[in-house]
Symmetry: C2
Subunit: 432 residues, 2 copies
């Protein structure tokens, strides 16, 4: 293994299906993000088709700037798959059949009750001297091909995103840490209820002046994440540095808007809290139309805490399933604090849950009234102690998708211990 | 305007946020797909940061092969935004202030009740001779910068996806048609219940031999789309050619699996059909957990036909909300044809809908039994005529996300006039 640190990277994705636009290149974003976390700048991302000449010229162009090129795709068993061969050719390396890799591929097929087709042998051909990343999640072996003379490295990964991301986490990240002689640990700080620019204001010094650990904000669908990354000679020390940095972030104004560390999402944070408190949840959705339930049930094992819910898209459903009173709908309309409260209480009672959440509003593009324009959503929480309602006012220029997603996020946040401050209005003018 | 046809294209996306992996590059996929439809091959997609030197060298590299480069991003009002300036510099063109564009930008701000900041004037600076694509959906003007000497063209579009895609449809597509002296019309044929390879088998001749119209399949989350594109001197003729091709596709075995033309999605096809028949729908979801309701309510105006539904993630909810009998759950378990049928009937009755749909199954990764492993989902439809149930067996190796999405799609397809043939098993080994 080369023992030089990687200073500049490029990303090179291979696949005609990318050039045809049949699939979106999530691999490039994933690899870029992971490299940024490690402090390795990415100068360029390139996509070429399954064409060895163009791949070779893209490789040469990438190595013109970078000391490492991260490739995904083209490691399959068919004759189209030529990434490995092209990289070996570029570095002037021979290929040899790797017995251990072949044995692994055979076993992979045996374990899923199939016989290995002959052309999969191709996947066990490895450029001489390559560092093999054992693939326990598929048949394409990943590897780092290092050129001792020039000090350049090509890291080859399969194109199927789930395989690629798993291999990155389990094999490539440790390899890069070994190369840099350091361990890099990252933590995501999840923030809700404070806009990105305000977060940046409070953390400005950390963001601009700290070199290790680094502190960087990411804005993601209406919430803010701050990623803290520390580099040290051992994991314990890097973790300690992250913890220390997070303690400092918590001590700022941002602190009380933090709903979790490495918790993935609001829905997961809510489920974790419910499990810890042994409480159960039911949801009643009008404008979000099933999105809250969908996001909760995206998470395996959610049934510990999530009982179910009702999508009550018409008034009749609100009355029949949730017991919302006709008088309430008449006096206040379906988009009102009163209706939201009755929905939350209704679903909690109907399902015998500890907590009921509800949404009702105008997601657009049509609908709304002068007083309650598109973007107005009432969210409510009901517990044995009673109901609490918030009114969200998002910009009517926001997309239906954004309004629904953000309303679902904020409704779930009612079950988390963060302040009730509506910042959606102030985000109205931002890029979506 | 240049009157030469574009033979080879490259795509060049500009934005440091792409290189940091903060956003996924959907623009490249969109542009590639649109160009493929028009028969213009894309040789490479490249992403560079907001760095004029690297942008200029990427531009030079792209024009090394391509006669047109499609750029997105870097047209904003800040000093980081340098795409326009770099392209003008590359072609050796001066920039001038375009009065009409400036007026449009001023009006855009006025219409949203804001004053135009001074730095937005920058957005009205245009390279000399550029073909301006008026932007009615934002402030960044899009344009084609044509180099008369070399015959090369740079098409500049903003980076915000909704603005970019709208401008493409309304301005760039017609421009490209004018350039090629032809009108290109595309139609999407939506197919469900027949696997991609079988579709390809039946349409092989059309796909490989037809040059105009072209016929190309796209596999998308468990369903197949066939895109028919025709080029002619006027729209009517191109449309006629598409219609003729679709008639031929309908005449093959594929025909009876077609659920719509240009209908967007199964959920939209179902809503259109319900509206046409003035019927209403309610859904009961266990393993799909709100996903069907979410997908239906993604569509504005769905409330004409969609009344609502229940997410019954636990047995108790199935009994309380849908009236599923305890004996049924005990004798057959929650994942059974009997439970699915009672759920569909229950939700139809509870909401007074014409049609009830239901799902219950094991989405994984945990759960399942030897007889009913992960990937087993029962889907049911209930009408006044009674219930109909189908058992889906997807590969247990499929992701939870895939199993849920595909089950939701197939459940909705029960309301469409296509045959009940389960092809999910045979897709088990495909890339997801």
């Amino acid at each position: 293994m080369l023992e030089t640190e990687i200073k500049i990277a490029e990303i090179l994705c291979v696949g005609t299906e990318l050039l045809l636009g049949d699939i979106v290149n999530t691999n490039a974003a994933f690899m870029s993000q992971r490299l940024a976390e490690m402090g390795i700048p990415v100068y360029r991302q390139t996509v070429v088709g399954d064409n060895p000449e163009r791949l070779k010229s893209a490789l040469a162009a990438a190595f013109g700037h970078a000391d490492a090129v991260f490739l995904s795709g083209g490691l399959g068993p068919t004759c189209d798959d030529l990434t490995k061969e092209t990289v070996a050719d570029y570095f002037g390396l021979d290929m040899h059949l790797d017995g251990h890799t072949l044995e692994k591929i055979r076993r992979y097929f045996a374990d899923t009750g199939r016989e290995m087709p002959e052309n999969n042998i191709k996947q066990a051909m490895i450029p001489e001297g390559a560092v093999i990343f054992e693939n326990d999640w598929g048949t394409a072996p990943a590897m780092a091909v290092e050129d001792k003379k020039s000090g350049k490295t090509a890291v080859l990964l399969p194109g199927v995103p789930i395989e690629m991301t798993t291999l990155w986490r389990e094999r490539v990240h440790p390899y890069l840490c070994r190369r840099s002689g350091a361990v890099i640990v990252s933590r995501n700080v999840h923030i809700l209820g404070m806009g990105e620019s305000t977060v940046e204001e409070h953390l400005r010094t950390m963001m601009s002046e700290w070199k290790n650990p680094t502190v960087a904000p990411y804005c993601k669908e209406g919430e803010v994440r701050v990623r803290v990354s520390a580099r040290a000679c051992c994991r314990g020390e890097a973790e300690g540095m992250c913890d220390e940095a997070i303690k400092k972030i918590r001590a700022t104004e941002v602190g009380r808007f933090i709903y979790g560390i490495d918790v993935g999402s609001v829905e997961n944070a809510l489920l974790c809290r419910l499990r810890a408190e042994e409480r159960t949840l039911a949801v009643a959705e009008s404008c979000t139309g099933g999105l809250i339930a969908k996001r909760l049930t995206d998470i395996p094992g959610c049934s510990d805490a999530f009982l179910g819910g009702c999508v009550t898209y018409c008034n009749d459903a609100k009355m029949k399933l949730l017991g919302v009173r006709a008088e309430t709908l008449e006096a206040h309309t379906a988009v009102s604090a009163e209706t939201a409260a009755e929905m939350a209480r209704g679903v909690r009672t109907a399902l015998g849950a500890d907590i009921g959440l509800a949404t009702t509003g105008y997601a657009g593009p049509g609908g709304g009234t002068p007083e309650e324009p598109v973007g107005t959503v009432y969210i409510a929480i009901s517990t044995a102690d009673g109901e609490r309602v918030r009114r969200l006012s998002m910009s009517p220029l926001r997309s239906r998708e954004y309004i629904r997603y953000s309303a679902a996020t904020q409704a779930m946040s009612l079950g988390l211990p963060i302040p009730d401050i509506d910042v959606t209005q102030s985000n109205g003018g931002k890029k979506s």
